[in-house]
């Protein structure tokens, strides 16, 4: 993809012009993969650790797509109940575009992340930095999605609450999905694995503990 191509795509995304679903999906796959590789490069000092880059590169696009896919049925039904299902194709387009924007925003933050890794940041702050990057990128994805929604909201103000529903659903599922798919960053003292060989746990409780640990 050339620079001109990228600029055109970003411009279309930012203006709320329909990017084709296919273009969005390839954007998510490529950008998500690249970002996964960057995230997985933490403390990469051996061939064994380099495997994490590959794992994270595969898992990250999956994380984005799987979270959205899981939320879609519920979101569709809520829209249908509200009598808004006749425009669901446009809603879907907004969702996919928001995901693409999120992925691209994440990639653009990855040089900063790599720089922090290079500066020798420890494991716990590295996790927090990644969470921060995700939060920024999500806000960016939201802004883009909102732009697609603007016309829908003008047509029917109830779309505003639908957007809020999506944000809630997606955040709820996405955070737990990320937690299940870990490690992305990879504890330098833990063996390199595709998934953690631990019983399934709840992300929200662990996050609170992590913040307490860093600020103590």
């Amino acid at each position: 993809m050339s620079l001109r191509d990228l600029e055109r795509r970003l411009l279309e995304l930012s203006r709320g012009e329909a990017l084709s679903v296919r273009a969005s999906l390839t954007t998510i796959a490529i950008a998500g993969g690249l970002d996964g590789v960057a995230i997985g490069s933490f403390a990469c000092d051996s061939l064994e650790r380099a495997k994490l880059m590959l794992f994270a590169g595969i898992k990250l696009p999956f994380l984005l797509l799987a979270s959205a896919t899981l939320c879609l049925p519920g979101f569709f039904v809520i829209n249908a109940v509200a009598g808004l299902s006749h425009v669901f194709t446009r809603t879907l387009r907004a969702i996919v575009a928001g995901q693409a924007a999120l992925a691209v925003a994440l990639v653009s933050l990855s040089p900063l992340l790599l720089f922090a890794y290079l500066s020798g940041v420890a494991h716990a702050p590295a996790l927090l930095l990644n969470a921060l990057a995700f939060a920024c990128a999500s806000a960016c994805g939201q802004a883009v999605m909102h732009r697609y929604y603007r016309v829908l909201i003008l047509e029917d103000p109830r779309h505003r609450s639908m957007l809020a529903v999506w944000v809630l659903l997606y955040a709820l599922v996405g955070i737990q999905m990320g937690w299940l798919l870990r490690p992305f960053v990879g504890d330098p003292h833990a063996p390199v694995t595709l998934f953690r060989p631990e019983p399934v746990s709840n992300a929200y409780l662990v996050l609170v503990q992590l913040v307490l640990e860093v600020t103590r």
């Binding site: 600029e7 970003l10 930012s14 653009s108 500066s119």
Partner: protein, 240 residues
């Protein structure tokens, strides 16, 4: 050479109030890179002088290394921080294009290195007449901080003017979302990130000055971060 100075002069004057904004397009990438290399190199070389005056082994190598490393510091910082600014402001609907944003940022780095190069004689004077290492370190932090502040202020003002100009144009085009204020917010946050990355980048690229008693090395082993180290130096200077 003459035209190089003329363009630099125009750029610096454009930073003042009441002067027209230098258009990024007037400032080619290669010109900016040459200016950054030369002006940054001058300041870097003066930083390295401390190793010569302290008769440390390999002192002249330090001058040479700092000559290369100081421009590299600015350019690497830009390399790390630029993608985020570009993508976020593009998604926020900023009408500025890739190359014009890059030119603008390079132009403000030119302002930074020009200001720091103008401090070079003062730095050289203190460096050659002082034997206290922490003093020289802090002097450099202050001088580079002033230069950085002036460069960023130049950048902010140029960008604000550009945004309002393009905003008026964009108002006529309904496809552009209300872009100006949001991109400007993103930009303000980015400035903080840029400053933080730049400071830490300087720490990674050490030594610039060369601690007395240590033999010359191109890089030092990594430990802690710049903000901890600054506090340590301050404590040492005050506590003697």
């Amino acid at each position: 050479m003459h035209s190089l100075f003329e363009k630099l002069d125009t750029l610096l004057r454009g930073g003042g109030r009441g002067e027209p904004v230098p258009r990024p397009a007037d400032f080619s990438l290669s010109l900016a890179l040459r200016l950054i290399g030369a002006l940054g190199g001058i300041y870097g070389a003066c930083m390295g002088l401390f190793a010569v005056s302290g008769a440390a082994p390999g002192g002249f190598l330090q001058v040479l290394a700092s000559f290369v490393k100081l421009p590299a510091l600015y350019l690497l910082t830009l390399l790390v921080a630029f993608p985020a600014l570009y993508v976020f402001s593009a998604l926020a609907g900023s009408p500025l294009r890739f190359l014009s944003v890059l030119r603008l940022l390079l132009a403000s780095i030119v302002v930074m290195v020009a200001v720091s190069a103008s401090f070079a004689p003062i730095l050289a004077f203190f460096t050659l007449s002082t034997s206290s290492y922490p003093f020289v370190v802090l002097l450099n932090v202050v001088l580079l901080g002033i230069a950085g502040g002036i460069g960023l202020r130049f950048l902010r003002r140029t960008l604000e003017q550009l945004m309002t100009m393009t905003d008026e144009a964009a108002l006529a085009d309904p496809r552009f979302p209300r872009s100006g204020s949001r991109s400007l917010d993103i930009f303000r946050i980015w400035l903080v990130i840029f400053a933080l990355v730049g400071t830490q980048m300087g720490w990674l690229l050490r030594p610039f000055i060369g601690r007395p008693g240590l033999a010359f090395s191109f890089f030092r082993p990594r430990y802690s971060n710049v903000f901890q180290a600054l506090v340590e130096h301050l404590v040492k200077l005050i506590g003697g």
